[in-house]
Symmetry: C2
Subunit: 353 residues, 2 copies
């Protein structure tokens, strides 16, 4: 065990590279190995990022004592198998959002993490953006007052580009389309800010995509607090990332230029958080303390493996975000009738206290 | 019959004054009389705006041949009786939104307007804002592409101030609270932009108001085109007025500083419409041709009485906006299940072809 905490990515595509750049902006954790089924891809990844080793099989990776934790960025429907195997092998696991494509898989992942006592971190990174942190501070210290409405949108053009070459095209591999890929971020953000969602009413539509999955979803969330929330997510327009809060004392309006999302050390600089009080025509831009969400969450993950930190988003939080997705899809099948989160969680054996 | 078209306001409160200022910015129509049950208020209104006559009863006002049309700004639940009486007396009628508080009343108003052949104009003025007009142009000439998501919010703090002294406090006089007072504007705007709504899923909540009516409403609209729309409206926060469109070719984001709403010749100057295409990080502010919604709609109303114009928003359009409100309330009672507009319209005898 080196001074730095040793991690290894599994699935060496675009997102593994984004996360690796985040890791390499700091010095708390380092990549000690990597794995992809594609040998050429392994070699290229090693060269690009200076990773000393590459495993020729997932089992070999898990047998490497230098690997303290693995980073899973493979397709959603492969998460469960890889994560369970890694946890059983004694490794910590970071998995990108969503925790899995189904709540059944999420429940099994959560159970194995609980049983093994190993660290499981889920990459709901958006709550770490400076704007989210500032919104949370305004709620907690009372500056916002009581929140009645919270509206969020996360959209891009991905649905217009999907072909059968990608797993995201298929409803059994990526149920909910834009909702499980984009909307799930706000399902976490909103529960981070406003507490647990009780029920969801939603409509999901396939409008302009050729894929099997929805490219337009709107969901109304009822929080246990009584507040109402909204998530809009589309896959057939230029990119949008907004999260607006309306409180009895003030409003906060957050807008992120998503084209800088992957450079998380720069994302905050391309975001604005505006506050508005009573009698204020103009919105006031707030100063945001810079964050680096990908770096921070992976360093937290590494430190948690060593027992030096607690993971902010684990199976519980990630499962509740995924439950909003699945409650949305079920509600849409029921023509918008509200679906309690408890129903989809219990149905999947994923009761979350 | 003078050169200018002679109108007379009924109900001489704050909104009658706002509309009168709009009229007096132009020279096509003029106030020839006015009526309120309160004599002191009549006199004060005459003096403030230089109105030559005041009627001592509504019947007297309707008997005045100089009055070609009346302007109704009384509480929503009084609209039907006044409007029907005026139409039967041969007068044109302008009524502020909503057309009525119930769809039954709206149906009766529409039937009487149809039977008498008199002009009925409804003050859904917001569609006349420069931003709305520009959004409509982008949809019609194809610059926006196909719209998948449309999101609108209209909120202010009114619900926190309501007391039993105002009709807006009571659910039988103002059903839906913030939805019938504010949300109904976007129910018209969105149907103006995207065509008829087919069904609505909504949740309405009383959170922080003491009034009987909701101060937080969220509604998802399904348009006949297949697009999804959203209306958020609150009565427990600083003011918000936004309308955002997501198309396959571009997004448009509209934001109005509502504190200038009542000065409609200046409202556009306090609004922004931003466009965003693919690969454009920055949004481009669009130049908006100034409008004056209150003046324009009342001049159009006057010219329509003389047969020189067609009313843009009549009973049909206004009833469809009100139907979105009532479908929202019924959906909320049904726990979010989608309610077809046809159901609430037919239930009220207000079938709109």
């Amino acid at each position: 065990m080196g001074e730095k905490i040793g991690l290894a990515p599994v699935g060496l595509g675009r997102w593994a590279k984004v996360l690796t750049r985040g890791i390499q902006r700091g010095d708390a954790v380092e990549l000690v190995s990597c794995f992809s089924r594609d040998e050429a891809r392994r070699t290229a990844f090693q060269e690009e990022f200076g990773v000393p080793n590459a495993a020729s099989s997932f089992e070999q990776l898990l047998a490497d004592p230098a690997v303290e934790g693995i980073i899973v960025t493979t397709p959603n429907d492969t998460h469960r198998e890889l994560i369970v195997q890694a946890l059983e092998a004694g490794k910590g696991v970071y998995v990108d959002k969503p925790i899995a494509h189904t709540l059944q898989d999420a429940a099994e992942i959560a159970a194995v993490a609980e049983r093994t006592g190993k660290v499981l971190a889920v990459g709901h990174s958006a709550r770490r953006l400076a704007g989210s942190r500032e919104q949370k501070a305004w709620i907690e210290d009372g500056r916002l007052g009581d929140v009645s409405l919270a509206e969020a949108n996360f959209s891009n053009e991905r649905g217009l580009e999907l072909t059968t070459d990608t797993w995201r095209y298929f409803s059994d591999r990526s149920p909910g389309g834009t909702m499980i890929q984009l909307g799930v971020h706000h399902a976490d953000n909103l529960q981070y800010l406003l507490g647990p969602v009780r029920s969801v009413s939603a409509h999901a539509r396939r409008l302009f995509t050729r894929a099997e999955v929805p490219d337009a979803v709107m969901a109304i969330l009822e929080f246990e607090s009584g507040a109402l929330g909204y998530i809009g997510c589309g896959w057939a327009s230029p990119g949008v990332y907004t999260l607006n809060l309306q409180g009895t004392k003030a409003n906060l309006r957050y807008d992120l230029d998503f084209t800088h999302w992957h450079e998380s050390h720069e994302a905050d600089a391309h975001s604005t958080l505006l506050s508005q009080g009573y009698g204020e025509s103009e919105r006031t831009p707030l100063t945001l303390a810079p964050t680096d969400m990908f770096r921070e969450q992976l360093e937290e993950f590494g430190r948690a493996i060593r027992g030096e930190a607690t993971v902010e988003v684990g199976a519980r939080e990630a499962t509740r975000a995924l439950a909003v997705v699945h409650a949305s899809l079920l509600s849409s099948e029921r023509n918008g009738q509200a679906v309690e989160l408890a129903e989809v969680l219990e149905g999947a054996g994923a009761a979350i206290a």
